[in-house]
Symmetry: C2
Subunit: 338 residues, 2 copies
């Protein structure tokens, strides 16, 4: 176990390195933090920390920089989550309150998060399967063409075109709409398949084909949760990354374009509480020099989706975590209200 002072040294190293982006040496450390000991002592502590793998030297006569393991210890033991100040909280709330629809909520959230953290923000749209159905609407666009519109309690709307095997009268359509809604409205999406299973049986034979088609489209829409959407922003902040720029930034931009990768990234994060993945802890190779801070958000107690930021491992963890947590909280509130 590391002594208290060594932990303090590690904390100081992380803080300084995050601030200056340059390897930090023993002398600078003692000057900027009053540790009460001399540089030589700090050097001994640093040697110990290096042995344990918490810090490393880029080259022999340089200062130390934290390793992924060092950041991990810092996040777990040495740093808290920095709460937002009251004015910041007000600003967040005001900014989000102006949103007109779900797209707007998500867009504003991304913007806000990117600005607060000065990093890349990622916000997942509220997922379908974890939401409940508010309403299913069926519109007849042509005799054998129906538009299916699905509205969730989080305000998300999905629509699909359905080509019916046979013409479908207005009356049958109204009938189907009514029966469908009475069964699924207010229910969780996950339960929908079970609830509509025997629905076609109540219809005339000639309409059953259409009913089945409509239902299977509905179920498909639900299953297509893999087609979950997300929005990203603040990519310009990547330019603050480091000096060896093009090499680092390229894979990150590529990862950000791959929604699949991002969704997986968020998906892997724990379901409740905040998750911090540091450097190589990220499965995706391109993100090996980045950290991902993510958290679930939702209208009630349950998370319906996740949001987070992607930034260099060399990031201000307490501040970032504070911002992410605060934003998630307020987005949840907004969704609950709408």
């Amino acid at each position: 176990m590391l002594s208290e002072r060594r932990l303090q040294v590690l904390r100081a190293i992380v803080q300084d390195y995050v601030g200056t982006e340059e390897p930090v040496g023993s002398k600078a450390l003692t000057e900027r933090h009053n540790l009460g000991v001399s540089p030589a002592t700090v050097r001994n502590d640093m040697a110990a920390l290096e042995d344990e793998g918490f810090i490393a030297q880029p080259h022999t006569s340089a200062g130390r920089i934290p390793t992924d393991k060092g950041y991990r210890l810092f996040v777990d033991k040495l740093a808290g989550v920095k709460p937002m100040t009251a004015p910041e909280r007000r600003a967040i709330q005001n900014f989000l309150d102006g949103a007109v629809d779900l797209d707007d909520v998500v867009a504003r959230t991304v913007r806000l998060l990117a600005q607060l953290t000065r990093q890349v923000a990622v916000v997942q749209y509220p997922s379908l399967t974890r939401s409940t159905v508010r309403h299913v609407e069926l519109l007849s666009l042509a005799p054998a063409r129906v538009m299916l519109v699905l509205i969730t309690d989080t305000g998300r709307v999905e629509q699909r075109m359905v080509d019916c095997p046979a013409p479908f009268g207005e009356a049958s359509l109204a009938d189907l709409r009514a029966r469908l809604n009475s069964r699924v409205a207010g229910r969780r999406f996950a339960d929908v398949p079970r609830l509509v299973e025997d629905l076609p049986e109540g219809f005339d034979v000639e309409d059953r084909g259409t009913v089945t088609t409509v239902l299977s489209t509905l179920l498909e829409t639900l299953v297509e949760e893999n087609e979950e959407r997300l929005m990203i922003g603040g990519t310009a902040n990547l330019t603050r990354f480091g000096h060896d720029f093009p090499l680092t930034i390229r894979p990150v931009l590529e990862a950000l374009e791959e929604q699949v990768v991002l969704l997986k990234l968020l998906g892997e994060a724990g379901d409740s509480g905040m998750t911090v993945r540091i450097g190589h802890e990220n499965a995706y190779e391109g993100l090996n020099s980045t950290s991902v801070v993510s958290v679930g958000y939702g209208s009630g107690n349950e998370a319906v989706a996740k949001l987070g930021v992607v930034g260099p491992t060399r990031m201000d963890y307490p501040g970032t975590m504070g911002a992410v947590r605060a934003v998630a909280r307020y987005v949840g509130q907004i969704l609950a209200e709408s």
Copy 2:
């Protein structure tokens, strides 16, 4: 007027520079293109081209690179649009055909365009005002709460929540829905305000407030064309930009994040035909070292929105223009079918 050969020299300079990303000298030019004259002659031509402002020297003893004016001449006079090959065309069509809804069409288009051109792709969602109404749906979510869903012929769906001043019965709602649709379905959005003007008059006094509220929400939705959406992709291609990277890329990423800037950019482009804005021709400062190739697309003859790519002025114009034109054409077809 420049002689034919000088134009050829300019063309050769542009082509070589685009390929190698390095200033091109007289000797290299004569070796790679058989112009039928010696380097010395080419030097004279280059001096003339430089006097006219078509090319420039980074420093005294370097080769020449094209100026914005040089690219402009190249695009206008010297280069055609390179058509896509048959396999490429097939690939485009196949890729776009798999789309399930409008979001998907746009997403696939962005991807495709970014891949084909290896640059940043920007696709605007079909605009509301230039589309026609397919259907307006009203859903009662609570006694005094209505959801308004607007469906366009391009498959775009907008929804808004309406808080009614007074409870609104199912019957009244159905009535309003029917009257509303009979007036606006199939009409152009621009005409809607005029068409619904006197609608409230046909309703009972106690319902008029609600009807007015619903209508004004509808009109607001239409007016919010400024809130036009767009999707971008291929930002990872920015890393291929140049060597002085962080300086160039930063403002570009910032511009790409500002939807307002992008929309303006696309908006300024001519309404029909392809538009190429080169370097300083772009009003927005951050894009001074980029070129924007854009074109309108639509389901019929009329453009409902625009798409394009943003890349370094040093880009393959004929290829890029060919890809942009081809993609726009196929997207138009897809929209017309759906």
